[in-house]
Structure formats: structure tokens, C-alpha cells
């Protein structure tokens, strides 16, 4: 009897659970994502996964649409010299030294709790951003700001003491990440005041106070009022499970036709393992995924598996997978291999069949020859493509004195009586596609007599500064492979280039220190981990960063790419692709171009065609 009762109760419970399946609204969307944001604080963390999420319930002063065109978001218009909102101030030599930008916020822009968005919010956002005690992730752009002044309730003026080419691009005005140039003062102001008062009382506990009270504030962890400027409003965050949003009725950007035809609810579910995420899609539990979660999967296989129930969209990611060479003369192993000689790098790029490599390890990716991706200002499509050419590679290596004198298949050369074998150390993370890359490169380079010593290490080791920034001490002895943002004409991604420069010639008087090259003299700081020093490249970069004329800037950037393509301080392998899967019928959920960076830019237009949503993208 008791057994029967147990079965009955279990049956009722399971039936109730099954009933849940059909209970969700039909005008909703469940998005699967592999990475969860750490918090919802606008000032901290700029990882793609967080920015994607913030895009659902926030919008910046500007945004980039799926055609790659910059559009005004919260702003009434994009500041330009022609509309008088951009004023560039040059010195006697004609060099731009300062600039002023005037922004006006739309009259119909409201926070999700109904409070108007004003210039006070913008000024407060900058105030927090510039508070030294605050644990903001980056001040790369806010450091350029000299002052920010309120003109009226809806208008404010930013003065930059150093040229900021990216003043209008997404996240480039004040320096917060995409989608949230402006944070709500009425929510964060009291939190900020309380935190600063506590820090003033106990400055030695500043980090603990900020971690606990600011990053850990209920508005950051989703346990209190989370207010945004975007098309949807925050509903709940079940940590390690999902975040839910509901459509706002008062958002100023509207899709064609009745808003009720479009999504009313969005849930982002966090699923770490790719096979589980894919199973969720196949089971119909997940209706779309973000642009990060299925990285490295073969779109053809996905299409075969999912059939007509889903659409698989492949776009360029804006990230370039590349081989970084150790060019530090102080690393004897690298110096012995003549990695500092551009002919060695030219031989290696020609010994690699990059078409085949990209097709095999990263389906959908396209071979790259630049440090920029297609779509960026000045991208040069006519660079030397360095085709696969074993003969040319062998000739270059022979010219450098390499020969297989002992017939073991590996090249040697003699230096000061020492016999050097061409054993090249290659390091990358343990990502599946990189493990496969190591195997393939080993085979390809063996054809020209280079023995590749493959080492795959956890990402936290490879990207630790103790490892990556200590190439001059030979922590890595040959090549380290990873992907770098290739720049898509927008901040903060556009590096111009983040890694390749050594001297920052922007300062007046010019600072000729190797401040971007990790060396003992600068405590191994800097992002130029290869140790490449090119005065010509640095000068071009400084010129480009001061040039506001798009055509002139484009010409300078092309020269930079030509220099890069000839010198090859890094060997670009391929532009990585991004895969987005969405159920058939989901419209306007698209990135379009690499410039848009993500498909999370237009949540107000997302909808199901079967519910009457119109496809406009």
C-alpha cells in the first residue's frame, strides 16, 4: 500500500514537472551560453560574455548595427565636426592635442524603473570610473578625459587631453565597456557614497570594501534593484543557472508593427559543456546560443545534426589566431634559432599551409595576412598572402645557414663551434583546436626540417604574466599561439595595435622608452610580449592615433599593415569564425559583421516569425 502511494505521489510530481514544459510563453526565447558573468556592475569586467548579457538590458550612447554602421543609441546624434559636436584642437605644428565632444541624450530615454536618463548619470559614471580607489577594469579611455561638464539636463561635454579617435565608437567615449556608457546614478550613487565613506574611515580595507559593498552590491549580484537603459528589464538571476529579462514597454527604439509580435521574455541559461548545450538545442530546450559557446565546432556538422529545425550562422569574430615569436635577443635559445631575423619568420609562414590548417582546426575561419580584420578602417586586402610554398621556405632557411648535415631530417647550423638543431618550442592552451593545431604544425614544419616541440598548457598558465611577459627570460622559447582582437574600427577592440608597438610616441615630449615591451626595467609590463621593436611602426601608429580624417588614417594604417606583413613579428594564421545557432523562425537575432561584435545589439527587434515578428536584418 505504502509502495503504491509512493508511486502515485512520484507520478503526480513528475506530471507536474512535465506540465511545466508547455507552460512557458510562446513569445519567449531561451538562449544558451557557456560563460556566466561575474556580476552586473557596469564598471567592472569587460569580457564578451558579460557585454553580451548587458546588451539585452542596456544600450550605449551609440551602437553598431549588423551592417557595421555606427548608430546613435541613447544619444540624439553621433558627434561629428560637421554637426559641431566634435571640436579638434591642434598645436602650432598642426598636431591634434585636445578635442571636445558634446553629447545629448534623447528626451525619451528612461531607465527601466521609469527615471529619466540625464547628463548627471553620465557625469556620475565618469566620476566612479575615475575614482582611483575603484576597481574599474580599464581606464584606457577614461584616462584620456580631461574633464566632463554638464551643459544641461540632457547635454554634457567631454574634453580629451589626448586625442581619442574612438570617442564615438561603442564604449570609447568614457571608457566603460560596450552597451553601458552611462550608469544609473539614482541606483549606484548611494552605493558609491556609502562605499567611499567606509573607505575614508578604513582606507586599509579599501579592496575588501569595494569587493564586498560595491561589486557585491545587490544591484550588482542581481539580488536588489538592477536597472538598465535597454529594451528589456532585468527580472531574476539564479546564479549558475539562468538570468531572465522581460520586455519594456517604454523603450525608445521600436520594431516594425506591434511590439506584442516580438519577444516578451528572454532567458539566458548557462551551460558549460558544449555537448550538453548542443543536446539542449536538439531537445528544443535551448532556442538560440550566443557567439562564444560553440566556438571551434564545425558548422557543416552542426547543420547536419540540427537539420531544418535550426539555422547555423557563421560570421567573422574579429579575433586573429596567430603565432607570436620570441624576438628577445636575451633569450639565447630563440636567438640561436634566428627567430629575430625576419627571413626565419617568412620561411615559417610559407611552410604552413594555412588554408588547410584553418579548414581543419577552425572550420569557417579565413586565412589572415594582417593584424586587422576585414571591415576595420584601413584594412588592406592586397597584402602579400604568403602562400604555402615549401621551396621558398627551404631556400630562406638555407640562406640563413641551416642544413640537414647529419641526415636526421632536422636542420642544423653551427655557431661558435656549437651545433644548433632547429628545435622550435611551441606553446598554446589546451583548447581542442589548439591541440590539433600543434599536431598539424609539427607535421608541416617537419617538411622543412624544423622539429616543433609542442606544449599545451592551461590558459591560466599561458596567459599569466609570469609566463607570457617573461619571454626575455625564455619562459617560452619559440612560439606562443593565441588569438588577439583584430580591431574592427571600434574601441576598445581596435588595437592599432595593442601588441605590436614598443614606444608610445603620443606623449609630449616624446617618450622613447620601451614601455610596452616586457623587460626587467619596467617590471615586465606591457603587451608587446614578442619584444618586437620597430621605430617606423611606432611612428605610424602615433600618426594614426592623431589622425581624425578617415581617409588619411586609412592610408597610414595600410602602411602599418604592409610593414607588419613584411616583417611578420607575428604570423597570422586565420581570422576566427563565430557560430551562432538559432531555431528556425527566430528573426533579427544576428551579428551580420565582425564590426557588430555580437548579436546582442538589437534585442528590441528579436522575435518569432510565426508570431508576426518582421525580419528586418
Amino acid at each position: 500500500m505504502r509502495y503504491r502511494m509512493s508511486v502515485v505521489v512520484l507520478g503526480i510530481v513528475l506530471a507536474a514537472g512535465l506540465a511545466v514544459l508547455g507552460s512557458s510563453g510562446s513569445n519567449s526565447l531561451v538562449i544558451g551560453a557557456s560563460q556566466e558573468p561575474s556580476n552586473l556592475c557596469p564598471w567592472e569586467g569587460a569580457a564578451d560574455t558579460k557585454e553580451n548579457l548587458m546588451g539585452i538590458f542596456n544600450i550605449g550612447l551609440t551602437y553598431i548595427d549588423s551592417s557595421g554602421v555606427l548608430q546613435p543609441g541613447l544619444a540624439t546624434e553621433i558627434p561629428t565636426e560637421s554637426n559641431g559636436r566634435l571640436v579638434v584642437i591642434s598645436d602650432a605644428t598642426g598636431q591634434v592635442i585636445r578635442q571636445q565632444v558634446v553629447w545629448t541624450i534623447r528626451e525619451d530615454a528612461y531607465w527601466s524603473d521609469g527615471v529619466p536618463i540625464t547628463s548627471d548619470d553620465a557625469i556620475f559614471t565618469f566620476q566612479v570610473q575615475n575614482t582611483q580607489e575603484m576597481m574599474v577594469t580599464t581606464r584606457a579611455f577614461s584616462n584620456l578625459v580631461e574633464e566632463i561638464v554638464k551643459v544641461d539636463d540632457k547635454t554634457f561635454r567631454i574634453t580629451y587631453g589626448t586625442p581619442n579617435l574612438f570617442y564615438s565608437s561603442v564604449g570609447g567615449s568614457i571608457g566603460l565597456a560596450r552597451f553601458y556608457d552611462i550608469a544609473p546614478k539614482h541606483i549606484w550613487g548611494p552605493i558609491y557614497d556609502q562605499v567611499m565613506a567606509q573607505i575614508a574611515a578604513k582606507p586599509e580595507n579599501a579592496s575588501t570594501i569595494i569587493e564586498g559593498q560595491f561589486l557585491g552590491a545587490p544591484s550588482s549580484t542581481g539580488t536588489g534593484a538592477v536597472v538598465g537603459s535597454g529594451a528589456f528589464e532585468f527580472v531574476e538571476w539564479q546564479i549558475n543557472q539562468f538570468i531572465r529579462f522581460a520586455r519594456r514597454a517604454d523603450f525608445f527604439l521600436v520594431p516594425p508593427g506591434p511590439a506584442s509580435n516580438y519577444l516578451q521574455e528572454i532567458t539566458v541559461r548557462y551551460i558549460v559543456a558544449q555537448p550538453t548545450l548542443l543536446s539542449g538545442i536538439m531537445a528544443g530546450e535551448i532556442e538560440a546560443c550566443d557567439d562564444i559557446s560553440l566556438a571551434g565546432m564545425d558548422p557543416a556538422i552542426l547543420r547536419a545534426q540540427l537539420g531544418s529545425q535550426a539555422v547555423v550562422e557563421v560570421t567573422a569574430s574579429g579575433f586573429i589566431e596567430k603565432l607570436n615569436f620570441n624576438l628577445f635577443p636575451s633569450c639565447q635559445v630563440a636567438a640561436d634559432l634566428l627567430l629575430g631575423d625576419k627571413r626565419t619568420r617568412q620561411a615559417i609562414i610559407q611552410a604552413i599551409d594555412r588554408e588547410d590548417l584553418a579548414r581543419t582546426v577552425y572550420p569557417g575561419a579565413t586565412v589572415s595576412n594582417s593584424f586587422l580584420v576585414d571591415g576595420d578602417i584601413g584594412f588592406d586586402a592586397a597584402l602579400n598572402p604568403w602562400p604555402y610554398n615549401l621551396t621558398a621556405a627551404r631556400t630562406l632557411l638555407a640562406d640563413l645557414g641551416w642544413a640537414d648535415s647529419d641526415g636526421d631530417g632536422t636542420l642544423e647550423r653551427t655557431v661558435d663551434g656549437r651545433v644548433i638543431e632547429f628545435r622550435l618550442h611551441w606553446v598554446a592552451t589546451t583548447a581542442d583546436f589548439r591541440i590539433r593545431t600543434g599536431e598539424i604544425l609539427q607535421e608541416m614544419l617537419a617538411d622543412v626540417g624544423i622539429k616543433l616541440e609542442v606544449e599545451n598548457l592551461p590558459g591560466s598558465v599561458v596567459f599569466s604574466s609570469e609566463y607570457l611577459n617573461h619571454g626575455s627570460e625564455c619562459t617560452w622559447r619559440g612560439i606562443v599561439e593565441y588569438a588577439e582582437a583584430g580591431g574592427v574600427g571600434q574601441a576598445p577592440a581596435d588595437p592599432l595595435s595593442n601588441e605590436l608597438w614598443a614606444n608610445d610616441l603620443l606623449e609630449v615630449p616624446v617618450d622613447a622608452e620601451l614601455e610596452n615591451t616586457p623587460l626587467p626595467e619596467n617590471s615586465f609590463g606591457g603587451t608587446n610580449i614578442m619584444g618586437w621593436v620597430s621605430v617606423e611602426f611606432d611612428q605610424l601608429r602615433a600618426d594614426a592615433l592623431r589622425e581624425f580624417d578617415p581617409d588619411k588614417r586609412s592610408a597610414i594604417v595600410k602602411l602599418m599593415q604592409q610593414l607588419y606583413n613584411e616583417e611578420l613579428p607575428t604570423v597570422p594564421l586565420y581570422d576566427r569564425s563565430e557560430i551562432v545557432v538559432k531555431m528556425a523562425g527566430l528573426v533579427n537575432y544576428t551579428k551580420g559583421t565582425a564590426a557588430a561584435r555580437t548579436q546582442f545589439w538589437n534585442a528590441w527587434e528579436w522575435g518569432w516569425a510565426q508570431n508576426g515578428a518582421a525580419a528586418v536584418r
Binding site: I12, L14, A15, A16, G17, L18, A19, V20, L21, S23, S24, V30, S38, N39, E44, G45, A46, D48, M135, T137, T138, R139, F141, G171, G175, S207, T208, E211, G212, L215, G216, T221, Q238, I239, N240, Q241, R244, E265, Y270, I271, V272, A273, P275, T276, S279, G280, M282, A283, E285, S460, V461, F463, S465, A485, P492, N498, E515, N516, G525, T527
Partner: protein, 366 residues
């Protein structure tokens, strides 16, 4: 009947106890005369106090080692920030390292950490912006207890009868079937079993059971929530139990086979007791003891989570929390989790020792 025999009452009636009601307990262990005496009680109390006090320096050494090992690992949370942000400058990097105190030697950081911990502050999870202890004990630990506890229950409920049945039907069809199924269970990796279960029940029978996760978003009401949670638990519990059931069934079978050949079982049969009584009242109670010991030793591991099952089924438990925290340099979460597991191991060692003293009369403490 003396106290020693009284303690044996719940376990088994051994041939010797049947024969003589003597001081000999199960398996021929002599009962401890005077265990309940005042002297023995004082001895045990002293022993307990000493062991508990020993926990403090032991935990201190463990925390030092753990912190040192984590500090030796290349990378820190700021490196993680830099990786995800192309606009991150060296000045940002230096500023944040100084801010977090990561520019100081590891032992200085350790003392700061220890100073906070003794005041009950385990710091904030840099991965999730919440108090690390709160994150571990509120969002992760209960999920692990639920998953692992149910799995343990299911494994025990299946393995014991299956093992007994297999032993009683030795070399018969049932025995061979159970043996084959057990070997299959032992041979299939848990992650593969998990993926197959998902494929069958979530993909093929679309929507019959969820592919993973803890709950369906937006579900309200007690019964729907309970039903939803059960649906989400079924597959991970099945996957996690598969290996344990297989292993424990083999273990139980072997133990049972050994026990039913012992003299006291023969004696029980010769006294005319029914087969059911002989098996379940006498043999099983003895045969199950090694399995219980094995389970007891496995309990701390149970709390540290089942990383493969949690990953495949997207179950937010302790295993994945520890793994992720170490991987992304979330030191505070890693430390609070690892220290908690260490404490559990120490406590269960202590409990095991106490249990030995209670059940094995030859062992004395104090």
C-alpha cells in the same frame, strides 16, 4: 547480557553469541569489558578533546599548504581580466594588482587572508562578486548534497539486493546477468553514460527529461517546482549511480559469498532457522559491514562533488565550483571549498576512529 553483547544486538547474532552469550561479538571480536565504565568514558572524552584540538594546527598547516600551492600557480585574477579585455593597459594591470594586494609576497597575502578568516570573512568570489562562503554553501554545497545523497541512496538500494541475489544464485543465470551488467557499469565512463542518457531521454524522446541544469526557468508553485527538480535530478543521479552500483554490487556479492560460507551461517541453518532469516538476519548483516565502511570512507569525496557528472548535466555542484575556481584563479572560492573538504576529511577520520572504538572492542582510546 553484558554491555558488549548489547552493542552487538543491532548487528548480528554470531554463532558464538548464540552458543554462549559470551563476550565475543561478531566475527570473533571480544567485547570490551567495562566500555561504559566511568574510566572508559573519561578516556574517550580526553581522547576526543585531544583530537579536536589537533584539528586546529592540522587545518592551519593545510591552509598554509593550499594557499602556498595556489599562489605558486602562475596567473592571478588580474590576468583573467586582461585576457578578456583588449583595452586593458599595463597601468590598469599594475593598479589592480596593487589594489588586490597581489603584488605582495604570498605569505603576506596568506596572513591577510588568515586574519580575515578568523573573523569569519572568507573574502569575495572574484568570479561571482559574492561572499565566497555564501557562494559555496548557499549555491553549490546544497546541490551537491542533493545529487550525491540521492545517488548514494540509489546505489545502496540497488547494489545491496543485487549483490546478495548474485551471491545466492552463484553461477546461475541471474548471477551472470548481474555480473555482466556490473562489468558494463564499471567499464562505461560516467561522462559517456551521461551523454547517452541525455541523448536518449532528452533528445530522442524530445522533452521527456531535461538535458541538464538544476531547474526550468520561470517555474512557480510547490508541486511544479518539486516535479521539475525531480525531472532534472533523474538523469544525473542515474549516471552518477551507475558506477557505484556496479562496483558495490561486485563488492557486496563477494562479501556475501564469503559470509555465507562461514560457520555461524551453517550453524544457523542447522538450528532450523528459515533461509530468509539466515540470509537477511544473520549473513547480510555481517556481509554488509565492509560495504558500510567503504561508504563511510567515501563520504568526504561525496561532498567534494562529482565533477564529470556535474559538467555533463550542467549541475552546479562543488566539484565544478572547485575546478572552475582553480582554473580561473578565484582564490577565495578555491580556499573556502578546499578548506571545507579538508575539514570534512578530518572530521570523518575522527568519526571513523570513534566508530571503530564503539564497534570494535579491541580498540581503546584515551
Amino acid at each position: 547480557m553484558g554491555l558488549g553483547a548489547e552493542r552487538c544486538r543491532g548487528r548480528a547474532i554470531s554463532p558464538s553469541s548464540l552458543a554462549a552469550d559470551s563476550d565475543w561479538g561478531v566475527g570473533g571480536f571480544p567485547s570490551r569489558p567495562g566500555l561504559g565504565s566511568e574510566k572508559a568514558g573519561v578516556g574517550m572524552a580526553t581522547y576526543l578533546v585531544r583530537r579536536v584540538l589537533q584539528l586546529i594546527p592540522t587545518l592551519f598547516v593545510i591552509s598554509l599548504l593550499l594557499f602556498g600551492l595556489l599562489a605558486m600557480k602562475p596567473g592571478d585574477p588580474i590576468d583573467e581580466m586582461r585576457r578578456g579585455n583588449p583595452g586593458f593597459t599595463q597601468a590598469d594591470y599594475d593598479r589592480l594588482r596593487e589594489f588586490y594586494g597581489l603584488d605582495r609576497p604570498w605569505y603576506v597575502q596568506y596572513w591577510r587572508w588568515l586574519g580575515r578568516v578568523v573573523h569569519g570573512d572568507f573574502g569575495t568570489s572574484r568570479q561571482f562578486g559574492r561572499p565566497a562562503a555564501d557562494y559555496v554553501f548557499k549555491y553549490r554545497f546544497p546541490n551537491t548534497v542533493l545529487l550525491s545523497g540521492l545517488s548514494l541512496l540509489l546505489s545502496f538500494s540497488v547494489a545491496v539486493p543485487a549483490g546478495v541475489l548474485s551471491a545466492l544464485r552463484q553461477r546461475g543465470f541471474v548471477d551472470y546477468t548481474i555480473t555482466v551488467v556490473s562489468f558494463v557499469g564499471v567499464s562505461i565512463p560516467i561522462f559517456w553514460m551521461g551523454i547517452m542518457l541525455i541523448y536518449i531521454f532528452a533528445v530522442q524522446f524530445r522533452g521527456f527529461l531535461p538535458a541538464g541544469g538544476l531547474a526550468t526557468p520561470g517555474v512557480t508553485g510547490t508541486w511544479p517546482i518539486l516535479g521539475d527538480r525531480l525531472r532534472h535530478l533523474l538523469l544525473p543521479v542515474l549516471a552518477l549511480s551507475s558506477l557505484q552500483v556496479a562496483q558495490w554490487t561486485r563488492f557486496m556479492r563477494s562479501s556475501m559469498l564469503e559470509t555465507i560460507q562461514l560457520d555461524f551461517v551453517v550453524t544457523a541453518r542447522s538450528k532450523g532457522l528459515s533461509e530468509r532469516r539466515v540470509i537477511f538476519k544473520h549473513a547480510l548483516r555481517n556481509a554488509i559491514l565492509p560495504l558500510i565502511t567503504l561508504m563511510g570512507l567515501n563520504v568526504p569525496a561525496l561532498f567534494s562533488g562529482a565533477i564529470l557528472t556535474e559538467t555533463v548535466f550542467n549541475w552546479p555542484g562543488m566539484g565544478r565550483a572547485i575546478y572552475d575556481a582553480i582554473l580561473v584563479n578565484d582564490f577565495n572560492v578555491a580556499m573556502v571549498s578546499l578548506m571545507f573538504i579538508s575539514l570534512l576529511v578530518l572530521l570523518f577520520n575522527l568519526l571513523t576512529d570513534i566508530a571503530y572504538a564503539l564497534v570494535d572492542p579491541r580498540i581503546r582510546y584515551g
